[in-house]
Symmetry: D2
Subunit: 361 residues, 4 copies
């Protein structure tokens, strides 16, 4: 349904063109510092209209906290946050009222529910992710306070253009310095060009977001079903437009043999003591579904945005085959806004598992 998490739990609500969108966080530990400007910063990263590369929809997306925070700290009670929908223009969607846009959710929502809010994408809109990002900002704070754990995500590939990124050293500043949120100074500008071309072509592009989490506590993950890799996969595949998830060596890893792929253990000096490390990280930071302390590295494939400017063949609700001239405002590459969303979802999963692990001690 619309709730995610077991102990640190979010419930998102809101259609793209209803009154508002929001989230309720339940199970947040008490006495966590909440800085609303940090939440707003994350929302601004996700927001359309940040540059000429993204959708022209203009929304300030100002978050309000309605409960659960008192004098700058969490109370341990539900945290309710919302963002009002200000740019609702139902008339802009009037011509889509009876149509099923290709590779959108119009058809499946209509069949499932027998009704849909045709004024925009409804719950299937990327706007639904606002609540996730707001909640993720608080999850990030918990991870930071707990063990300086840091979750990052960035554009790894656009269309056929792949970037080189060092997962061990990449920083938020490097990511945000790039208009396409690709920290590779060579690939980034090429991606921007490619996206501009797609816009001119009335077409759209997909790509890959890569995420790295550093300073991960050992022991997060609840086998056998709530393995860390399983919950991360679910989190990512619950996002709009995602088509694939891979961790560590992923789909590439199958061309290795076991002796090449296994990550040898060794002892590393750490502070005054020693700790167990692996020399390679083909496992991507989890073994047996539990974090092993190495960086968690995963990738998510986003399909090219379904909304394009070119004419397309489709059908309407009455069974007529028709041509759709343009399927809505045209954002050629939503990928650019996706890092904040991927980071938020990863932070939510890790925080939930952190609390679950604490309950065992």
């Amino acid at each position: 349904m619309n709730t995610f998490g077991h102990l640190f739990r979010i419930t998102t609500w809101g259609e793209s063109h209803g009154g508002a969108v929001g989230v309720v966080i339940d199970g947040c530990p008490p006495q966590i510092d909440v800085d609303i400007s940090v939440i707003q910063f994350e929302l601004d990263r996700r927001r359309p209209g940040q540059s000429h590369l993204t959708t022209p929809r203009q929304e300030s997306d100002v978050v309000e906290i309605l409960s659960g925070v008192f004098e700058g700290k969490t109370l341990g009670t539900p945290i309710s946050m919302l963002v009002w929908n200000k740019d609702a223009r139902p008339a802009a969607y009037e011509h889509l009222k009876d149509l099923y846009r290709p590779s959108h959710a119009d058809f499946t929502y209509q069949k499932k529910y027998g009704i849909r809010n045709w004024q925009g994408g409804g719950r299937a809109s990327a706007r639904e992710t606002i609540g996730r990002v707001a909640a993720g900002a608080i999850a990030k704070q918990i991870l930071r306070e707990n063990a300086e754990t840091e979750v990052l995500a960035y554009v790894k590939q656009v269309h056929t253009l792949a970037a080189e990124v060092d997962t061990g050293t990449v920083t938020l500043e490097q990511i945000e310095a790039s208009p396409v949120r690709c920290p590779d100074p060579i690939a980034g500008p090429k991606m921007a060009e490619r996206i501009d071309q797609a816009r001119r072509d009335q077409d759209s592009l997909g790509g890959i977001i890569e995420s790295v989490t550093r300073n991960v506590p050992v022991g997060l993950g609840e086998p056998v079903f709530d393995k860390l890799k399983a919950d991360l996969a679910k989190a990512m595949m619950s996002l709009p437009a995602t088509m694939g998830f891979q961790i560590g060596s992923g789909f590439e890893g199958i061309t290795m043999t076991g002796s090449e792929h296994n990550d040898p253990f060794y002892m590393e000096k750490y502070n005054e003591s020693e700790r167990v490390r692996t020399r390679t990280n083909n496992s991507g930071g989890t073994q047996g579904g539990i974090s092993n302390g190495e960086n968690i590295v995963f990738q998510v494939a986003f399909k090219p945005t379904a909304t394009i400017g070119k004419p397309q063949q489709t059908v309407d609700m009455h069974g007529n085959e028709v041509t759709l001239e343009a399927s809505g405002r045209h954002d050629p590459c939503v990928l650019v806004r996706a890092p904040a969303i991927v980071e938020a979802m990863a932070a939510l999963v890790l925080t939930d598992h952190l609390l679950r692990q604490r309950s065992k001690s």
Copy 2:
């Protein structure tokens, strides 16, 4: 934890070398036909020791039904099934007692729980999947009774060897006729050779399982978090050794543009009436996280088996760096046994969503 599903729910239990392994199914509708030989058939497909290509562990794995079935039909009460562990040989694991085998779960379980059953893989063993497969057999029966829905899975790639398979026509018989469960008559035998070579090399191989589900009801999937693709991803990534999940065009699809990738709708004559179809299926059978009636097609990456015969560098529980001569009985390619498991998990997800959708009508 160890429960999966919302309305059709399974709880698995059992270590690889404890007394038994089993499953409790909760929420199974009443009056479903249960044929224990069908359940046994699925378990036999999963079982090691079926051919020289798989592990030599010899277990009959005979399933017993302890509750929830009466005179051949489900009662609507919990169905408890178990398989006794007969091949427990703790002595064979004695030398591994203090070691962390590379890319196994020994280290993470020890750190998470402070204790582990070192006599085999514990819960991280592939033996844990027995309960999933037994439950999946009943889920398949529900899907069959409901709409002739059929879930299949097969080996799509081993190491670098990829197969050609027509998702629209492949049959269970074709899959089972191949010792490596690859229905491609050309690639299959090559895969068998490659696996035999790996065995001789004391090494192991990974690969890809592909799954197709046909005759899928429209409307399954519960946005925004329990999207069908999200629950399938979680199901697959909760399996041992899985490193990636992709649906439809997956990671490949990002090299297409939106106009190439979108699946155009059209009207198809169907019985006396018409229905909405898509000309291509890059979406893999879901849009907006809800099934659209097209075949559900996804792929799962399995890493090369962590257990190999070659010596490896590792550490022990006392912080010593040591050489592990052989990490256990050697099954060079567990992939061959994976189709039954992948099918079971897909059937469990679909059945859960079928019941969830029914509650809305």
Copy 3:
């Protein structure tokens, strides 16, 4: 936590003196008629300040629907509703900042969370029930549309004054016509007098709410843990101030023998057909935790309101024993406002179980 229900699920949020209080309903079936005036009617029944018998707090408590409803019908997506807090007067609570009011939740919240919103009762306030009542109004509509099922509740006892009420015939109109919401024309006015006396005494009273549900479908309830009686008990005992729950013959029934207590079955002519009925209803409408079609009758004990005007002995956060002169605005008998809340919770439980039962067919 703050979520209740399995398929029809509510999440409430909001402190008594924070920005707002609200609810998110998840899993509501699509295409249900939503009339905001009906929701407002239920909130008005719950609201303080309705008569001189209730608390003088003046709040308009106007509900807003922010999502999930489109053109007067539910979309099947989350329904978000909120009520702004307008009467927040933190200064009125300043003197209570460091105190633990007797039989309030100040002490336990402080110990559990290490922090609390001392400006009112926080989550422990009766104001938290606003979200429950708003959601219950929609649940009632589903029950009505499904089978004309009607949930009623009324004041059965205040202090030592018990009412005579016929569960088979009592109506909402009779309940609402009484300022104390007791449909017994003799006991009702006496209760009003007794409450007025308690106000003059700076004291408070408790009592019993009785609820009857008529036209209940047979088969609701999910043994063994989610029995209907178990979920009703949890729902009622999750309310502030409740100290007991009993169904059917309840605690009285133990003075009967089995032969007196058992409800004999008989066949009743029903429309053109027959149906199974019981001659007595000591079972209160459920057997084996499943509804049997008879009226569901239960009672809930509410303790006397903890807030009183008389001085009381207590302690403060610093370990000093102190006298509390008056513990806040004084509502001598919250019972009068409780029927709407009890009805809402019963409706939520029944609706959840209705959807669960549908998933089996």
Copy 4:
């Protein structure tokens, strides 16, 4: 369904006359001592046939642990336990096959599921509680290790005979020394007589179980829905034959005024320090749904056993009104076996909340 608990979770399975009954515990912390003889002791307290006062069914009810325990300690993995059904005598139930026994679950199960195991009470049998009691034994061990928390329950009333019991001092030895498990040396023998008379009359009796928990940590309970009192109520009302639950002053408390009922706080010297206590305990150990450190005291009403020896009027599945001569083996007062069950359920609730509270710190 058949799962109870959020972090410490049990799933029970098994019909009264199927192959076996059992339980899977999920979420049990690792490294807890497990002594199978302690589990067996609890099962023996619950078992029929302990004295002439209970049902003559003879079952050894020997528990087996199939997983989750290694060398006497929990692994943190699911603990599967079962007890085989040895006394299955389907022929004894043949005459009940088509009948609906009054105040049993035959009718409602048949209507809900369209099928039932008529060989005994199925899931509605008291035999279902075996799994709960076995799991409760482990929960008790966790509570004991954590803070010497002790859960006790005993017979407080049989029919009209009430006992005097001091909740502060009553011991397990006193309870077990009484054949009716009533620690009052005067009321106990009278209850035994009354039960014997009921047996001779072919009739049955109900009564009240009272439970006290001592050494309760402050802070257990998760408002607003998972209040401690709410989860205790659900646990108790999920048991067969329960008709009511009350905590602290319960239904009696409503005849007090607020000034009489409120529990005044005071400071008590405790070890080298001080702690907050209440002078009275009308709250029953929780305030705002959270434990306050006082003893948790609650009562549960059990109706007279539905199975009696006297003839009763009823109907059969074909709509005929018939006389049922005797409805099965006759146990005139199941109450005698209920203390072990009530203790188990209370321990399960408290353990679950203990783990939930730990996750916050």
